[in-house]
Amino acid sequence: MQYQSQIVAKPYFIAAIGLFIGQILFGLILGLQYVVGDFLFPEIPFNVARMVHTNLLIVWLLFGFMGAAYYLIPEETETELYSPKLALGLFWIFLVAGALTVLGYLLVPYSGLAQMTGNDLLPTMGREFLEQPTITKIGIVVVALGFLFNIGMTLLKGRKTTVSLVLMLGLVGLAVMFLFSFYNPVNLVHDKFFWWWVVHLWVEGVWELIMASILAFVLIKVTGVDREVIEKWLYVIIAMALITGIIGTGHHYYWIGAPEYWQWWGSVFSALEPIPFFMMTVFAFNMVNRRRRNHPNKAAMLWALGTAVMAFLGAGVWGFLHTLAPVNYYTHGTQITAAHGHMAFYGAYVMIVLTMISYAMPMMRGRAAANSNKSQVLEMWSFWLMTVSMVFITLFLTAAGVLQVWLQRYSDAPQAFMVVQDKIALFYWMREAAGVVFLIGLVLYVLSFFVGSKEPEAVQS
């Protein structure tokens, strides 16, 4: 660690991992409810477990992004963080607000939570991913503003590198697009149209800036390739991301009451969205091949290459699969969507956060550059278990989705939703089994922080 204040990233990373575990446990509950419909009913209905699963995902990724920024910005700007105290204060506010919100989901019926938190005054609840009570949303904005102020001030007083500017731009974009979560008109078409300004313009817009800049940072560190080269790549990648991704939003406007020209705009531009993800893959492998040093942290290198590949598969390939309007007409809102959502989120955003944690955590825990071999070997096992099981989750859901489309949407004698769900239950069982393997991988991941701590650090080979 080159700057003392980078250490504030540590609680953020620990919280991220803790919430990640919670997310996966609720994922397993959901997966079981798919096949054993009355599991935990009425204590935890499916919709409640789903909110916990998806909201924990978003919140822990936000913890991860913030932690990544607190670590990266001082090092890039070559100056201490503007206010480590503010960073710690916001950490606790965010953690407590997040915990209270999840407890609210679990302990109070949702309509009661809406009432208690004054949803009548400014109704924003009850929309997918944006289920948080309005006061929680306001809390998120306050934390985001404090966070942006803190790293913004750091950036102003220090060296301004491309990596840090792009990260800052992505984080500002994240906060700005979130403001659309407060816009909830009665007109359902308006509501849906602008809902995607949060969801799509996050994952296929500004978050790509965050991902690409973190990847660039880690690659500079572990490969020692010249910064000029890496930053040139970074600009080209994020240029392609926004050029394709902004109008690519149109792939969500085919069937929600918007004009039909979106079928053209959406199909053409979103079909190009895999390009930036493909470039990230080429970029990562290229830089590693041209490396000027062999960094002892092999696990971090593995995560960096892994995220580049898996983001391309999940977002690029699985996204392309259902993005053209004539295909999406049949696949819209099926298990195909769920398959893509899982691999894309995992490949791009889960893995980029784990890349940063893998790179930074050893230093924050007193190592010079890397963990012991023993710890790294376990971490790499967890990488493979989680990644391979996520591939299988995706494949099983894709199979379920293809059958669902066939039986319910495409055939001459379409069958009812619930009838079809029964017929494809086998694939849901296999998804659940793959989910258990994912959990085992995650447990090994956590263990990797506790084994081999007393052994000597891995050395450059």
């Binding site: 919709n47 789903r50 909110m51 849906k192 926004l242 149109g250 009451g257 004009p259 809102g333 939703f417």
Partner: protein, 141 residues
């Protein structure tokens, strides 16, 4: 990437490209908002439909169902349930939940009063009449 393509060229493509496509997107958005009155069935947006949307949101129906194909994939599409089942079925359905059938996916009892039941039916009727370019492909959603 070759030496003639410099970092500042890459940066200019990023800023220029982004600004250009943001402007195109805003123009399309503007045009969409202008075209929507013909498509979004706003003639039916009564106070009752507004209440229905509120009931829909306050009970997190989207946490199990899709509405016009968006939401969760655990339970049937409801954008066209009004056409598939009709108002009486929907009212009764809401009142007899949960079925309690062992092993079957369960829907909670939301204890809606008559006004709320009428409102949710009105909201689902309004949703079913939005012009969705012929989606879903058939009545099963």
């Amino acid at each position: 990437m070759s030496g003639t393509f410099t970092k500042s060229m890459a940066r200019n493509i990023f800023y220029g490209g982004s600004v250009f496509f943001i402007l195109v997107f805003l123009a399309l958005t503007f045009d969409t908002v202008k075209a929507l009155p013909k498509l979004d069935n706003r003639g039916e947006l009564t106070p009752q439909v507004a209440l229905g949307k509120k009931v829909w949101e306050d009970n997190n129906c989207i946490g199990c169902h899709t509405l016009l194909g968006e939401g969760a994939y655990f339970a049937p599409e409801l954008g066209n349930v009004y056409t598939r089942r009709g108002p009486d079925f929907i009212r009764t359905w809401m009142q007899i939940q949960p079925t309690g059938a062992p092993g079957r996916r369960q829907m909670p009892q939301f204890n809606l009063n008559d006004e709320e039941l009428d409102a949710i039916v009105a909201f689902l009727k309004y949703s079913s009449e939005i012009n969705t370019a012929n989606w879903p492909p058939n009545i099963e959603g």
